[in-house]
C-alpha cells in the first residue's frame, strides 16, 4: 500500500471503531446525532471538501457531491447509522479500487522491467557504462553474466544461455554463441558476451515492445465505448429520477415527505457508474497483461474482442507451421544400409555449399573424412559424381540417373528427392523437406476444440508439399502456389465466406505478408520482432515463433470477454434491481451501498482473476513441447 492508502486505511479503522461505539453505547437520544457525526467526519471530511470544490466548479454530477448530499440527507431524516455507514463503505470501496488498480499497474510495470538501464560500451579497449540510447549500430558492447542484453545485436565472442522468459514467456533458457543474433531484453545468464550492436535503441526489440504495450490501453474495445456512453447518461438520469422521486409523489399526496426523500437518497447512493467504468477497462488491461506474460503482445482491447470471435484461422505455411529449414525427412536405401547411403551422399556433397548438401551433412552428423573422396565433379542442375573409397558414386536428381543410364524410381514422399547410385547400381534415395513444427499438430487440434470452424493454409510452395503438410496437420483447406497478392485475394474470399459475427485471424511470420496481416480481422505476426513492416501491420505480435500461442491467445481473449460481459451484466442487473426496489420502498440504504461499493469490489475482483499469478487457462500447457 502507498502512504496515501495507508492513511486512508487508518481513517477507516478509526471511523469504524467510533461507529461501533456510537451504535452500542447507550447514548441519550438528543446526543446520538453527535455520536454518529464524529465517525462521519473522520471518514468523510475530504469527500465533503471535494464536493464543495466541485460544486463551485459547477460539477453537479460529481460523485463526491452526490455522496455528500445522500449522507447529509440521511442525517436530516434521522438515519444516522446509515449515513455514517454509507460514507464509510464508500471510502472502503475507493481504497480497494485504488489498491487493485495499483496492483494491475504494477503487473505492467513488471513488464517494463525489461527496459535496460545502461550498456557497457567498449571503445578503444576500454569499457564505459553509458545509457543504451547513446550506443550506435556497429558499436561493440559487453554483457556480463546476470545482466540484461541492452540492445539488439550479433554475438562476436562468448557462449552463454539467454533467459528470454520476459519476452517470450518461454521458461527454458536458450543456448547462444558467437554468430547468433540476440534480442534486447533477454538476460545473459552464464558467460561473458561481446556483442556488435545492429540497431539503435529506439528501434530495438525492447523499445518496440514497451511502445506497443504502453499504447495498448488506448485502443478501446466496443464494450468499453458502450460503457463510456452509458456512463454519460446514467448519472444525470438517476439524479433527475431522484429529484422527481423526492418531490412529485409527496406533492401529489402519496405519502410523507421523509419516506420519499429516503427513497431519493437511495438513488443518489447508486448514481455513480464506477463499477462499470473501472472494471471493464481493468478487465481488458488484465487480459492484455496476461497475454504479454505468455509472450503475446496485443495492441489493444479491441483486438481481444475481435479475436474472441475467431471463426476462421488462416496460416502461412513456411516459417509458420513449418520450420522453414530443410531437413532429411526420409532415407530409403536399396541394397545398402541407411547409414551407408547417407554416408555416401554426405561425402559426395562434402565440397558443396548448396543448402541441400548442408542438410544432408547435418543428417549425417559425423565428421566427414574428405580424404576418402578421390575424384569429384559437380554437374550443374543434375548433381555430383565422385569416387569414394574406390567406388563410383552418383548423387543427384532423376536427370542425373537418366544421364548415367541407371534404373531408378521416384519416391511417394513430398519434398526434394536425392538419388544415389554406387558403381552404376541404384542404391536408394533421400528425401529432403521442410519440417513441420513440433507444436503445429496440437495447435490445429486446440483450435478445433476452441470451436474454430475452419483452418486454412496459404503457401507459395507446390501443391504436393502444401497438401502433404495440410493432411498431416488436419487443416481444412489449402491454397498453394500463391504469390503474395494471391494470398490477399484468398483472404478476401475467406472473409466473404465467414459469418457476419465471426472473425478471421491470420498468422504469418511477417515475411512478405504485411498486406495480408492488415487485411485480416486480426493479423498475428510471429517470430517476435523480425520485420518492422509486420509489427506495424499486425494487431497481435507473438514474441516467439510457436503457433501454439494462437489458441492460447484465443483462450485469453475469450476469458477476458467473458469477464467483461459478466461484469457489465452483473453491475447493470444489481443496480437496476436496487433502483427499482428503492423506488417502491423495498430497498434500504444498505442495499444501495451494496449496489454501489459491493458491486465495484466484486467486479474488480472478477477482473483481477485474469492477471492473477498462476492463471493457467483450462487446457493450457505450462511449456511448449520443445
Amino acid at each position: 500500500m502507498t502512504k496515501k492508502q495507508k492513511k486512508m486505511f487508518a481513517r477507516i479503522l478509526v471511523s469504524a471503531a467510533l461507529l461501533v461505539f456510537a451504535y452500542i453505547l447507550p447514548i441519550p437520544s438528543s446526543f446520538r446525532i453527535f455520536a454518529f457525526l464524529l465517525p462521519y467526519a473522520v471518514i468523510g471530511w475530504d469527500i465533503l471538501w471535494k464536493s464543495v470544490r466541485s460544486i463551485l466548479h459547477g460539477q453537479v454530477f460529481d460523485e463526491n457531491f452526490l455522496m455528500s448530499v445522500a449522507t447529509i440527507g440521511a442525517f436530516c431524516i434521522g438515519e444516522y447509522l446509515e449515513a455514517s455507514a454509507v460514507m464509510l463503505f464508500y471510502q472502503v470501496g475507493e481504497l480497494f479500487q485504488s489498491y487493485a488498480v495499483g496492483k494491475s499497474r504494477k503487473s505492467i510495470a513488471e513488464l517494463m522491467k525489461i527496459r535496460p538501464d545502461s550498456a557497457n560500451l567498449e571503445r578503444d579497449g576500454e569499457i564505459q557504462t553509458v545509457s543504451p540510447e547513446a550506443v550506435l549500430p556497429g558499436d561493440i558492447i559487453v554483457v556480463r553474466p546476470g545482466e540484461k542484453i541492452p540492445l539488439d545485436g550479433i554475438i562476436l565472442e562468448g557462449d552463454s544461455f539467454a533467459d528470454t522468459s520476459a519476452l517470450t514467456g518461454e521458461s527454458l533458457p536458450r543456448g547462444i554463441s558467437a554468430g547468433d543474433e540476440v534480442m534486447s531484453g533477454c538476460i545473459n545468464q552464464t558467460g561473458l558476451l561481446r556483442i556488435q550492436v545492429t540497431k539503435p535503441f529506439g528501434e530495438s526489440t525492447v523499445a518496440k515492445i514497451l511502445d506497443l504495450v504502453e499504447n495498448a490501453a488506448e485502443k478501446k474495445a466496443p464494450a468499453e465505448n458502450f460503457i463510456t456512453k452509458f456512463a454519460r447518461y446514467y448519472t444525470p438520469c438517476v439524479v433527475v429520477a431522484a429529484v422527481l422521486l423526492a418531490v412529485v409523489p409527496p406533492m401529489a399526496g402519496m405519502g410523507a415527505w421523509a419516506d420519499w426523500i429516503e427513497r431519493a437518497l437511495i438513488f443518489l447512493v447508486i448514481s455513480c457508474p464506477c463499477a462499470l467504468v473501472i472494471s471493464v477497462p481493468l478487465s481488458f488491461f488484465s487480459g492484455i497483461g496476461r497475454a504479454s506474460r505468455s509472450g503475446i503482445l496485443v495492441k489493444g482491447g479491441n483486438y481481444l474482442e475481435v479475436l474472441s470471435r475467431t471463426e476462421t484461422v488462416v496460416f502461412d505455411k513456411t516459417g509458420t507451421l513449418t520450420q522453414g529449414v530443410f531437413q532429411v525427412t526420409a532415407i530409403h536405401p536399396d541394397q545398402v544400409t541407411k547409414l551407408q547411403l547417407l554416408e555416401y551422399a554426405a561425402l559426395a556433397e562434402g565440397y558443396s555449399t548448396h543448402p541441400i548438401s548442408h542438410s544432408i551433412q547435418e543428417a549425417y552428423g559425423k565428421e566427414l573424412d574428405l580424404s576418402r573422396v578421390t575424384q569429384y565433379e559437380e554437374i550443374p542442375g543434375h548433381g555430383i559424381r565422385a569416387v569414394i573409397d574406390g567406388h563410383d558414386i552418383s548423387v543427384g536428381n532423376g536427370k542425373l540417373m537418366e544421364q548415367s543410364k541407371i534404373s531408378w524410381h521416384a519416391c511417394h514422399h513430398p519434398g526434394t528427392q536425392i538419388h544415389v547410385a554406387v558403381d552404376g547400381e541404384y542404391a536408394g534415395h533421400l528425401v529432403i523437406s521442410d519440417q513441420i513444427k513440433p507444436d503445429a499438430l496440437e495447435t490445429i487440434r486446440a483450435l478445433k476444440t476452441e470451436g474454430v470452424k475452419k483452418t486454412v493454409m496459404l503457401t507459395g510452395d507446390a501443391e504436393v508439399s502444401g497438401q502433404a503438410v495440410a493432411q498431416q496437420l488436419g487443416i481444412d483447406e489449402v491454397h498453394a502456389e500463391l504469390l503474395p497478392a494471391g494470398k490477399v485475394e484468398q483472404v478476401e474470399i475467406l472473409l466473404s465466406q465467414k459469418s457476419a459475427k465471426g472473425s478471421l485471424a491470420f498468422l504469418g511470420d511477417g515475411i512478405n505478408d504485411a498486406p495480408v496481416l492488415s487485411r485480416a480481422d486480426v493479423g498475428i505476426a510471429m517470430g517476435g520482432m523480425g520485420s518492422d513492416a509486420a509489427i506495424e501491420a499486425a494487431d497481435i505480435v507473438l514474441m516467439d515463433d510457436n503457433p501454439w500461442k494462437v489458441p492460447e491467445a484465443i483462450r485469453i481473449s475469450r476469458q477476458t470477454m467473458r469477464i467483461v460481459h459478466q461484469n457489465i451484466v452483473f453491475a447493470l442487473v444489481v443496480k437496476g434491481l436496487v433502483l427499482l426496489l428503492g423506488a417502491i420502498g423495498l430497498a434500504t440504504m444498505w442495499e444501495a451501498v451494496f449496489a454501489d461499493v459491493g458491486v465495484s469490489v466484486l467486479a474488480i475482483l472478477n477482473a483481477m482473476r485474469l492477471s492473477a499469478k498462476g492463471n493457467f487457462l483450462p487446457g493450457n500447457r505450462k511449456k511448449s513441447g520443445q
Partner: protein, 72 residues
Amino acid sequence: MVKTFSLTELDCANCARKMEDAIKKIDGVESASISFLTQKLTISAEEAKFDEILKQASKVCRRIEPDCKIVG
C-alpha cells in the same frame, strides 16, 4: 500532431471519462483519450493551437478533479 502526457493524482475512473469527454470538446482537438489505468492523456490536435489547447485541457481537468495535473 499527437502528444501523450502523464496525469498525476487521477484517482477516479469516472472523472477520467468526464475529462476525456470535455477535452474532446475543446476547439481544435481532433481526438483525445485518457487511459485511467496507465494515467495517460493522448491528444491529437493542430500544432498551432496545441499550447492553447493544453492550457484549456489543464483547466478542464482541474475543474473535474481539483488535484489532477497534466505533466509532460
